[in-house]
């Protein structure tokens, strides 16, 4: 373990030094050019963009650093006991994937657990397929329920009421779990009564085209690294739908899942934090899930995520200015606004403005330096995250397309969704068609 930590330390220090050196060199070069900027608008926009770039670098550094510290902190000892865990699998029209999902659950390495499949009024053969697994399977018991369609949060509450475990793992029916998931996650809960939940890591299972490979990188770099950094403060702000292990008492203390947002996982996490529970991250508890393979399906997913997160923030908006419920919640809410609204806006603004200024005033060199800096940052972060998560190095080159293409499209979709949410446009769940890749 010591050598592993030393390697991580070396990697992070090396990364910080290299990034710092490249950044300084780029800025010195830029200053030396002594550009004559034609008017106040261009000068101001350049300063705004440089500030944005510095913010970006600072954000990267902070995330990498705290993610690294969380890794050092992650050596939690085995728990004193391994209590019963209930796994809830809410399913609506998941016939293509439900059997693969249940099969993965039957091979988990844990002495005692139950699997509750809740068919939420599916119109396909989900219930029939799930019923084939009902009964005792050695260490695991599978129970299958059917209820009238009412949405994911109601299906999960239905499962919580019927489960018997001291800890409850909520997942998606289009996901599979790594064999060590329960053992790794439960370590954080058994002997730490203030920890209410543990977020696992989510990985893309269907890396079949460039879009799903970009998402595979995004999940590792953009989502898991952020959760890892937040985990250092025990303030993970979204326990992902595909994998979250909860203490039953914590779920009951906040009344289970609410039905008034499209991001029930984010909403529940905020309620837990507001209640004073700590939320940790465990990379060894891994779910592999299907990612959209088409651009429109990706936008559909991000649209729901963005509006759902904004709805969850709106439920707690009074805590933005009133930290009496805990500084953790206030900080988390501001961070979510930053990541959910300000950050995408800055990214789109930065790209469009820079292109405009470069085209109109011929400032080609700053444009190239801007992109070179971002690409170096993305490649370095991708390299670190892929190494830490022991993922395929083949994903690293996708970091180049990530900034130039993927992030811009996703951030623009987030901005559109934000406007629609602020204007209170109607929306529905927007369920994706499953591809049956698990």
């Amino acid at each position: 373990m010591a050598s592993l930590r030393a390697r991580y330390a070396l990697a992070v220090v090396g990364l910080v030094v290299v990034l710092g050196a490249i950044s300084v060199a780029l800025y010195l070069f830029l200053i030396e050019q002594r550009f004559s900027l034609p008017n106040t608008f261009v000068q101001t926009s350049m300063w705004v963009l440089l500030t944005f770039l510095l913010l970006l670098i600072g954000r990267y550094m902070a995330l990498l650093w705290f993610s690294y510290l969380n890794h050092l902190d992650g050596d939690v000892p085995e728990p004193s006991r391994l209590p019963l865990i209930s796994i809830l699998v809410p399913a609506y029209n998941e016939g293509a994937v439900i059997q693969g999902s249940i099969r993965s659950l039957l091979s988990l390495d844990y002495p005692r657990y139950e699997v509750l499949v809740i068919d939420d009024g599916s119109k396909d053969k989900t219930y029939l397929y799930a019923r084939q697994f009902e009964g005792e399977h050695g260490r695991a018991t599978v129970r299958v329920f059917r209820k009238k369609n009412g949405g994911k949060s109601r299906a999960l509450n239905f499962g919580i009421e019927r489960s018997q475990g001291e800890f409850i793992l909520c997942m998606d029916a289009d996901s599979t779990l790594a064999p060590q998931t329960l053992r790794k996650a439960v370590r954080h809960l058994v002997d730490s009564p203030s920890v209410g939940a543990v977020a696992g890591s989510v990985k893309v299972v269907n890396r079949t085209n460039w879009l799903s490979k970009l998402q595979a990188l995004e999940y590792i770099e953009g989502l898991n690294m952020v959760r890892s950094a937040q985990g250092f403060f025990r303030l993970v702000n979204i326990i992902p739908g595909p994998i979250g292990l909860f203490r039953r008492a914590a779920l009951e203390s906040v009344g289970g899942y609410d039905h008034d947002t499209f991001a029930e996982d984010c909403d529940l996490t905020l309620k837990l934090i507001a209640r004073g529970w700590q939320v940790k991250y465990e990379p060894g508890a891994a779910a592999r899930t299907e990612a959209p393979e088409g651009l429109l399906d990706l936008l559909k997913q991000r649209y729901r995520w963005t509006r759902g997160i904004l709805q969850a923030i709106a439920k707690h908006k009074q805590r933005l200015i009133d930290p009496r419920a805990g500084l953790g919640l206030t900080f988390t809410l501001w961070y979510m606004i930053f990541e959910g609204i300000l950050w995408p806006a800055m990214n789109v603004f930065g790209n469009v403005l820079f292109v405009f200024v470069a085209t109109k005033y011929g400032a080609a060199l700053p444009l190239v330096i801007w992109f070179a800096q971002l690409t170096v940052l993305d490649l370095a972060a991708a390299l670190y995250c892929v190494s830490v998560e022991e993922e395929s190095m083949a994903l690293v080159p996708y970091a180049i397309y990530y900034r130039a293409f993927f992030a811009l499209i996703v951030d623009m979709a987030k901005l559109f969704a934000t406007v629609e949410e602020l204007c209170k446009f109607k929306m529905d769940w927007g369920k994706l068609d499953r591809l049956g890749r698990i």
Binding site: N149, G150, G151, S153, R154, N157, I160, E161, P193, S194, V195, G196, R248, A249, A250, L251, E252, S253, V254, G255, G256, Y257, D258, H259, D260, T261, K271, R275, G276, W277, Q278, L295, L296, L299, K300, Y303, N351, V352, V355, A358, T359, A364, L365, L367, V368, F371, A404, F405, L408, I409, M412, A413, F416, W429, G430
Partner: protein, 70 residues
């Protein structure tokens, strides 16, 4: 050879193309969503706060009034 003009041209074109693609694909997503056949009799699934029976029984109250972390 000065590569800066070429690089900047590539960045400019790809950024403009990506912005256009983002706008068009978002419009296509909204259009597809609008044209999707609606389910007859589909009930609204939101806006009723869940009250966990276990917590209510234990504390004599509903959501938000259960036990806190030690």
């Amino acid at each position: 050879m000065d590569v800066v003009p070429y690089l900047s041209a590539i960045i400019l074109i790809s950024t403009i193309a990506t912005v256009l693609l983002a706008i068009l694909s978002y419009a296509a997503f909204k259009l597809r969503d609008k044209r999707k056949p609606k389910q007859a009799g589909a009930a609204a699934v939101f806006f009723r706060r869940y009250r966990c029976e276990g917590a209510a029984a234990a504390t004599g109250a509903g959501a938000g009034e259960g036990p806190s972390p030690p």
